[in-house]
């Protein structure tokens, strides 16, 4: 019944759709004579990216490399580590799971002004916001993942006379990996939002969030869109990277078969 998608189609259609939107946008801006202070044409955005590459690079280093990535690894490691500890104590697990689930659903980004107050204006406060935002999804997902191995599998390990550590390393951590990667995928998206919002509340004079607000005030919307483009590209690339690593590491999982 259904045609199988070829590799070509899987790339051509989305790219074509994207191009179509860009062309319509470009035509629309010229046709209706939209003020560049409201909506710049894609060509103007492209020109801004080309002419301000150095500035955009500096902002990217500040926001993504220093703010977001530091926050991601700190938050992830803390989340995973706590999950491993908590997993050993049923009592703690029962207590922490609902609390962590609750925190994971909160608008933690609201902590941004407080983190700026605590950790200063440079990337440290941004990394702190990101770390907290990342921490809870990682904790919750890892905990859920550690319970993913079923009783039968655990019993099997026991018949092999495997101890807690061996069961953890050979069965439960591998079984938890798909969940951990789901957490990571959620986290990378959150991380960029957190790092950018935190810059709204105070920053040095570089960074994507800083540039967006400053250039908006100067009516240089082409630069604002250039930053949006870079942030979209970064978000997609980070997500793609996590997905790629996941595929390599959890190649055995049913969702990657076929």
């Amino acid at each position: 019944m259904r045609q199988k998608d070829t590799q070509f189609e899987r790339i051509a259609y989305p790219v074509g759709f994207g191009l179509l939107v860009l062309v319509l946008w470009e035509i629309g801006v010229h046709l209706f004579n939209v003020s560049p202070a409201l909506l710049p044409a894609p060509s103007a955005i492209g020109a801004a990216i080309a002419s301000s590459a150095a500035i955009l690079w500096g902002d990217w280093v500040q926001t993504v490399l220093k703010g977001a990535l530091n926050g991601i690894w700190m938050g992830s490691l803390a989340g995973i580590a706590l999950a491993l500890v908590v997993d050993r104590f049923v009592f703690l697990k029962r207590g922490l799971m609902p609390v962590a689930n609750f925190f994971a659903a909160l608008p933690i980004v609201g902590l941004a002004p407080i983190m700026v107050m605590w950790f200063g204006f440079d990337w440290h406060s941004k990394a702190a916001v990101v770390a907290i935002m990342v921490f809870f999804p990682m904790l919750v997902n890892t905990l859920a993942g550690l319970s993913a191995a079923d009783t039968m599998q655990r019993d099997l390990m026991r018949t092999y006379a495997a101890g807690h550590v061996a069961t953890l390393m050979k069965l439960r951590i591998p079984a938890a990996l798909p969940f951990v990667f789901t957490g990571l995928k959620i986290s990378t998206t959150l991380a960029l939002i957190g790092a950018i919002v935190a810059e709204y509340f105070g920053s040095p004079i570089r960074g994507m969030g800083f540039r967006i607000t400053t250039e908006m005030g100067r009516l240089a919307t082409d630069m604002v869109w250039a930053e949006i483009f870079i942030s979209a590209l970064t978000g997609t690339a980070l997500y793609g990277l996590v997905a790629l690593i996941e595929k390599r590491v959890t190649f055995w999982h049913p969702s990657h078969r076929g």
Binding site: F32, N33, V34, S35, P36, A37, L38, P113, V116, M117, G120, F121, E199, Y200, F201, G202, S203, P204, I205, F210, T213, T214, M216, G217, R218, L219, A220
Partner: protein, 327 residues
Amino acid sequence: MKNLMMSASVLAAMTTGAFAADDVTLQLKWVTQAQFAGYYVALEKGLYEEADLNVTIKPGGPDVAPVQVLLGGGADVMVDWMPSALAARENGAPVVNIAQPFKSSGMMLTCLKESGVTSPEDFAGSTLGVWFYGNEYPFLSWMGKLGIATDGSEGGVNVLKQGFNVDPLLQKQAACISTMTYNEYWQVIDAGISEDELVTFKYEDQGVATLEDGLYVLEDSLEDAEFKDKMARFVKASMDGWTWAAENPEEAAEIVLEYDETGAQTEKHQIRMMGEVAKLIEGSTGALEMADYDRTVESLLSGGSDPVITKTPEGAYTMEITDMAFN
């Protein structure tokens, strides 16, 4: 864009009957506070109504650029500072100054004495907090005049984009922060730091003052005689509002508080702010004074290697409205 604005005005014409008062929407530069008392007083005391105007006041905030609201057709007239208005003009937003209620600048740099900054010579190497979003221009042109680099290079100042409050000074994250005589300075005082622990540099005293709150409209709209007449009545009524507010600071503050939708402004702070703001409008007739304008333009042009505006603006102001209003 023109189409959009045209349809908006057609709509407006359809909804307001021939005999109804003329609608005017004013976009403020910042949140509702005594800095804009004159307009709220004119609204509350019926001065706009007497001038046959139906005025709506839109408060601003940290993420609202008044110019963009004006361009988007969300307002007819805005309160903005001249540096950001002129910079916007150079960036393709044709805004024109039609009146200048604020004569003096309230901007200053407030430093902790313990940071060791006592004169502008001490700035080099220290961390200074600056507002951005169009408010950085006076600072940049001052530093340009002093010959101090602001790009983080050796021997320059380390610039921070300060948030909306005075925390960087209280937490000692910056040696100096930007404050207004009528607002943030008092937040520092209220936080428990006494005046003799502070060193302040007023832009007025440093000879780098630029014009602050003025009224701006889009150039196109001035081609319409009816609009000009409407603006003349608006400016006249607003200036009457300002005169009343300066004479009755406590009642003016009360009126502002009533319009404050955040409910976060306090009476004490607003009355004090009104007192300080009154000093800034002192001596203003509402009309732009050429000497002040020239000084502002010159200061913005002389920003060293990176001036705020690159060429002398043309047609950035008109005396027509104030002439109509006051003669």
